[in-house]
């Protein structure tokens, strides 16, 4: 479990230090206060490839082909708080894995121009940015290279399994792959039963391929004789199955969820928390979940009251003077008290 986090010069963060993180960390705060950026920092440092920083762009809705031409630093610059500063540094201290630090620094500004329509005949070094992970005593760099096949991004050892879910939940492919992986070890019923508990009209879940859809998770619904792709049934159901699958994938790892309430009918939010926390506990998955919803927080109340030591509340805000994102941490006891007294805590 990650116990502490330090961020320097990343996105909206000039400098941030968070201690005493818990198994379940709930993130609140106004728009542009750094909730998603906090999740992204964890995703980057716990991940093992610079490609994750490009995934983050896509999840934020920027869907360009970032490498149709091979530019210099530009695709990477938006992760920096201050470009004039030397580097980004994100570090975590985990009680099992020890310290892990990611240093990101900008390199050459030179653009690589390729003859139109041609691929390079040999590998070309490409150094607009460097990602260096310090894991314990060891240092790993993930090199970027232009090859015949395109941009190749190197990997470093994985920290632990980490899942990042946006407000929509997991992608169709992600969910299908994860369900299929569980099915291969004959554990898919754990997901199916958890889904049935929350949505009793679901009879079965399977991975199917469909010419129009590709491989996707399908559900058999009571009263229907044809299976339906899960995202077509409801956003909430797709989100819930994504959360459950992500927890299994992030066994002893990290689940990062943005806008966790999104898609859920208000009366199911409490069940969602109960089911999710149960799975997270049994899989030893640490959860970081961001929300804007008071209803969603109130639905968590009985869980926080029952086990306050497992929770903390992180409230993000933007410093009006320097524009940097900041965070305030509240322990589970205070979090529970505020929920019980009915105070605004977002």
């Amino acid at each position: 479990m990650i116990q502490s986090l330090e961020i320097e010069n990343f996105r909206g963060f000039k400098s941030l230090r968070l201690e005493a993180l818990r198994p379940v960390n709930i993130i609140v705060g106004p728009n542009a206060s750094g909730k998603t950026s906090l999740l992204e920092a964890l995703f980057l440092v716990a991940g093992n490839t610079p490609e994750n920083s490009l995934k983050l762009k896509r999840w934020r809705g920027l869907t360009g082909k970032f490498f149709a031409i091979v530019p210099g630093r530009e695709p990477w610059q938006d992760i920096f708080f201050d470009l004039t500063k030397a580097a980004i540094s994100i570090s975590i201290m985990d009680n099992e894995w020890g310290k892990r630090r990611l240093d990101v620094s900008l390199g050459s500004e030179q653009m690589i121009t390729l003859p139109f329509g041609e691929s390079p005949q040999q590998q070309l070094a490409y150094n607009p940015i460097s990602f260096i992970w310090n894991i314990g005593e060891k240092t790993f760099e993930a090199p970027l290279q232009i090859t015949k096949e395109g941009l190749r991004i190197g990997n470093v050892p994985q920290f632990s399994n980490t899942s990042f879910l946006t407000n929509k939940g997991g992608t169709q492919t992600e969910n299908a792959d994860r369900f299929s992986a569980l099915s291969k070890v004959n554990r898919e019923n754990e997901i199916i039963n958890a889904m049935k508990e929350m949505y009793p009209f679901i009879q079965n879940l399977t991975v199917e391929t469909d010419p129009g859809v590709g491989a996707a998770l399908f559900a058999l619904i009571k009263g229907r004789d044809k299976k339906i792709p899960v995202p077509l049934i409801s956003d909430g159901i797709n989100k819930y199955v994504s959360i459950l699958l992500a927890i299994y994938f992030a066994n002893k790892g990290l689940l990062l969820v943005d806008d966790i309430e999104s898609g859920f009918y208000y009366r199911t939010i409490k069940h969602m928390w109960t089911g999710m926390l149960k799975q997270a506990k049994s899989n030893e998955t640490q959860v970081f979940a961001a929300t804007h919803s008071m209803e969603c927080l109130q639905a968590l109340r009985s869980s926080v009251e029952k086990d306050p030591d497992s929770f903390c509340l992180l409230r993000m805000r933007r410093n009006q003077e320097n524009g940097a994102c900041e965070a305030e941490r509240f322990d589970g006891k205070r979090f529970a008290a505020a929920l019980e007294e009915g105070f605004e805590i977002r």
Binding site: R267, E295, R334, A337, G342, F343, E344, I345
Partner: protein, 229 residues
């Protein structure tokens, strides 16, 4: 069967949660119970303090102070709070009652005054007022009864006679006798609602409690002092 009754009584409907509590005023006052909070609120309003300058809530009993103050610390409006007053009852052991308020302040990370009616500058500025007054046994009802009797001394012998006629009040402690006496005064004066509790008496015609009484000046002056510190 039970479900049918629930449906008939509309108990099956989800309860609509109240909106979350927010506060804009820089001066936060927490009373021990609902009656204490209502009294402080009415006292300040009756003396011309604009109600957007303060915010009063109850802690649901002395044991609720810690939870309530924890909640205040966690509230997203906490940065607006510059002044905090706690209004509690001395009951039978003024020193112990004050110490329990000190504990709640200390455990929730607020500055802790060394004695009742003293103010620590913080931030935030914090003060604790113990009713009926520093070091005196009793509660809110003791203070209210004193104010009624100061304005209407003719009620005193009647109250004494009533108390002496009753078997039960013999040997009651001051907390209980104060509650009995204020309820008797309300029952005898408030035709609109003779059974009204102290928490709801303030807008009733026939309310015998004079908010202008000088018996309330120490509390009012103390709250003013917190504002000006």
């Amino acid at each position: 069967m039970l479900l049918r009754w629930k449906k008939a009584l509309r108990l099956d409907r989800p309860r609509i949660p109240p909106p979350p509590i927010t506060f804009d005023a820089p001066f936060y006052i927490v009373g021990e119970g609902s009656a204490d909070a209502a009294f402080v609120d009415e006292l300040l309003k009756s003396r011309g303090v604009p109600n957007n300058n303060f915010f009063v809530r109850e802690a649901e009993g002395r044991t609720g102070f810690e939870r309530h103050l924890d909640a205040v610390q966690t509230s997203s409006d906490r940065p607006k709070l510059t002044r905090l007053a706690v209004v509690a009852d001395n009951d039978l052991d003024p020193a112990q009652s004050f110490a329990s308020v000190q504990d709640a302040l200390q455990r929730t990370g607020f500055p802790v005054p060394a004695s009742p009616s003293t103010i620590v500058t913080g931030p935030p500025v914090v003060g604790v007022f113990m009713m009926p007054g520093p070091g005196v046994q009793g509660n809110l009802e003791t203070l209210l009864t004193e104010a009624v009797l100061a304005t209407n001394p003719q009620f005193q012998p009647c109250l004494n006679d009533f108390a002496s006629c009753m078997v039960a009040p013999v040997g009651w402690d001051i907390n209980k006798t104060s509650k009995m006496r204020i309820q008797l005064l309300i029952a005898g004066c408030c035709e609109e609602d003779p059974a009204c509790s102290v928490a709801y008496i303030w807008n009733k015609s026939g309310n015998p409690i004079p908010l202008s009484s000088s018996r309330f000046d120490p509390l009012y002056n103390f709250l003013q002092q917190i504002v000006t510190t």
